[in-house]
Symmetry: C2
Amino acid sequence: MVQETDTKTMPRDETHNLIASDRVEGTAVYNRDGEKLGTISKFMVGKRSGQVQYAVMGFGGLFGMGERDYPLPWNALAYDPEKGGYVVDLDKDRLKDAPSFERGADPSYDRDYGEQVFTYYGIVY
Amino acid sequence: MVQETDTKTMPRDETHNLIASDRVEGTAVYNRDGEKLGTISKFMVGKRSGQVQYAVMGFGGLFGMGERDYPLPWNALAYDPEKGGYVVDLDKDRLKDAPSFERGADPSYDRDYGEQVFTYYGIVY
């Protein structure tokens, strides 16, 4: 969806390096087998650094009810320009136990929470 | 505005380091004299790097008509937690000649454009 919107206003080859913060939502996330796990809800960005720390992925639910958000450490993601989405090394089964929260009930993203999330994905916090 | 929204769902001290991509819009931008120049329209983020390259600042216009967007190199901004906004070393007068575009008519953000913008603000591209 994001790619389509981009293409309307500008040539794809010029802009595929950048994404606007208001077009982040809806970008697909796949596992390494090419299976779609969910879509990006939002990025959590360092206010000072300007570096994305988490890509928050929405998953599950029906018609927006019961959907849960999974904060993924940025370094656990690889961008795949062919797919126009992100690839994460994560089986669908592992998502069951991954740190997550009900849509809208965002965590504090404090240090303890960060360590918990990053450790789950084997990334140094 | 962003600070207020954050405070509703989580304690400010825990979350002031991160901003959600869907709450970027509306963050104030000041010059070094504390004068408000405009508000953030969006961030332009590297899809691979996760690094914000531009903070796009909206300025001018009335009731959303005629507003222009000014892409500011991320490194030209400093976050001021007291103000809950960004400070940029830029006189209001200099904005007149700064690279900008009509709201919605986004540039290609190709290499030439990047060099033009970064050079204007004295930042290495």
